[in-house]
Symmetry: C2
Subunit: 330 residues, 2 copies
DNA sequence: ATGAAAGCGCTAACAC
DNA sequence: GTGTTAGCGCTTTCAT
């Protein structure tokens, strides 16, 4: 194991000079810097994380609490995590995985000084976890938008605007009666923040533009077909669907294509673009930029750690995705 | 911030006594122990991870390199991660996420002393990452079984045995011509270890039991239906499928049910049980115990960190899953 | 059964 | 522009 002292000796400088070469916190002559860097390379030196963090009282580690729950779309969660990880690494930070559904885990990591801040996913409208966040000694960022978001830093996709956007598009297309096939029943029952907001935006804007709109929860996978069947049978005047459920989307689309009714049913989807763009029967896709959302969360957390207070919730604006065939004109 | 010194003072003992109360590494009188524990509780003391790890030269953190690649089944990966995390926490360890596809990331974390060991997922048959693992200063465990596994500790599901098991079951059921619909093309092209082994086991046992067996890669999602169509058209004598692709399974099953051919095609699936058991048209499910696999990996890594050398690769035995309706008789 | 004290490897004053 | 050194909070010999 080579230490900073070894490097200092090899370079013929003091320990602190080596430290300052690494941190850049004071000016070093070109020549000295080169000697030190050479010595570091020769000895293939890596600073010891624990020593560094003991002395500096910071770890360069972000805590991440990701959910693994019924109804949660693993694909989207993975993308958020991937985005956060990428962004964190870009800023020389690492990510410590914190057990889900466990406020104690976040507290433990914070109090042990294992992380400089925490990123929390899949926040519910009234989330029990948010209470304890306020009196942590480290900053936290929620990906989601709970009721009690007043004092908390939140980053999320603007699901409400997405709901409005979908209603507008469907109205433009001349539809009169439409249905939102949303998150799985468990998610809606938990009043997951995003599900609530999407519904609100969709219904209110539908009303404004004269659409008759209803909302139905929709299980992932094959179960979705049953919901579609029930809907078609019970409400034949429906001419379009707004689907927010990546996992159910292919099944819904396949079902509609199969049951070749007189008037085809149009589908607008809210989904990570790459998952929905090539599903046959889907005419418009509002992109859910999951990876960017994770990155934005990490970025905001890093800013908070640096002491920059962000003003209000940061909401990513929804946009329609464009297939490679019809690229956006920007 | 309360330190060990605060606790020692409050309890009227020395710092080392407090330390030994926590570690249990020497006998403490009942009375002293109680005073110390009381003091810790009163001051709500949490030991500082960095200080502890600087002094002890260990972190209680496991590095985890999980893949986020094309064709990788996110659901299975998530379950493995969840299993590893659970097991790690059970043994008072945490998990640091390491960037995928990046041997440098593992090395960096190891050399900085950030982790006590690393767990590596989705290993390919000839994985470039495994080379550098051998000369890390910390132990590593692969979930997967690469060619060059001689000196490495590996834990995996016994895909080869699973392939054999499926062939046997299909033969018992009286089939003569069968097809393995396997991992997506990208995964098979990479010669991902599990895909190779499943194929080998399935084909060799098929030969032994007199089955005519072929293997087809199969994309996830709707693309799977095309593969099924092509197969049915090109090889009408096929009477059964062995499907190893959770993401494609529902589509395959749905397609077979829809195309009501004279003789129905039987499906045996290899999948996490809870994902496949309720897909209509699937007659047998070989469970892929993803969470248990993650837990086993973590357990083995923790053992290696303690210095226990495991003899050979550890392979989880495949079993048929039983639906709630027909429970196992054990 | 308990204490005293020497590190662990680094950062950041405080010198010059 | 560079060096000296006092911690950071803990673990673990040595003592007793």
């Amino acid at each position: 194991m080579t230490t900073i002292a070894d490097v200092a000796q090899a370079a013929g400088v003091s320990i602190s000079t080596v430290s300052y070469v690494m941190s850049g916190k004071r000016t070093i002559s070109q020549e000295t810097r080169e000697r030190v860097e050479q010595a570091m390379a020769d000895l293939s030196y890596s600073p010891q994380a624990s020593a560094r963090s003991l002395a500096s009282r910071s770890t360069s580690i972000l805590g991440l609490q990701a959910p693994i729950r019924a109804g949660v779309d693993v694909h989207v969660v993975m993308q958020i995590v991937a985005g956060a990880l990428k962004e964190a690494r870009l800023h020389h930070h690492d990510i410590l995985l914190l057990t889900s559904d466990d406020a104690a885990g976040v507290e433990r990591a914070a109090r042990a000084g294992m992380v400089d801040g925490v990123l929390i996913l899949d926040v519910e409208t009234s989330d029990p976890r948010v209470g304890s966040l306020a009196d942590l000694s480290i900053p936290s960022v929620l990906i989601g938008l709970p009721d009690t978001a007043d004092q908390l830093i939140c980053v999320d996709f603007d699901f409400e605007a997405a709901g409005r956007l979908a209603a507008e598009r469907l109205a433009e297309r001349g539809h009169r009666t439409v249905t939102l096939l949303g998150a799985p029943p468990q998610v809606q029952a938990r009043h997951t923040s995003y599900s609530d907001r999407l519904t609100r935006g969709f219904l209110s804007r539908s009303r404004e533009v004269g659409l008759t709109a209803t909302v139905l929860p929709c299980p992932a996978g094959p179960g979705a077909t049953e919901v579609v069947d029930a809907l078609l049978a019970g409400s034949p005047e429906t001419t379009a669907l707004f689907v927010h459920n990546e996992a159910a989307l292919p099944f819904i689309a396949a079902r509609l294509l199969a049951s070749a009714s007189a008037a085809p049913i149009e589908i607008v989807a809210l989904s990570p673009a790459e998952l929905a763009l090539h599903v046959p029967g889907v005419s418009d896709v509002i992109d859910l930029p999951a990876e960017e959302l994770g990155a934005a969360g990490a970025r905001t957390l890093l800013a908070a750690i640096r002491g920059e207070r962000s003003p209000g919730p940061e909401l990513l604006t929804p946009r329609f995705a464009h297939s490679p065939a019809e690229p956006a004109t920007v």
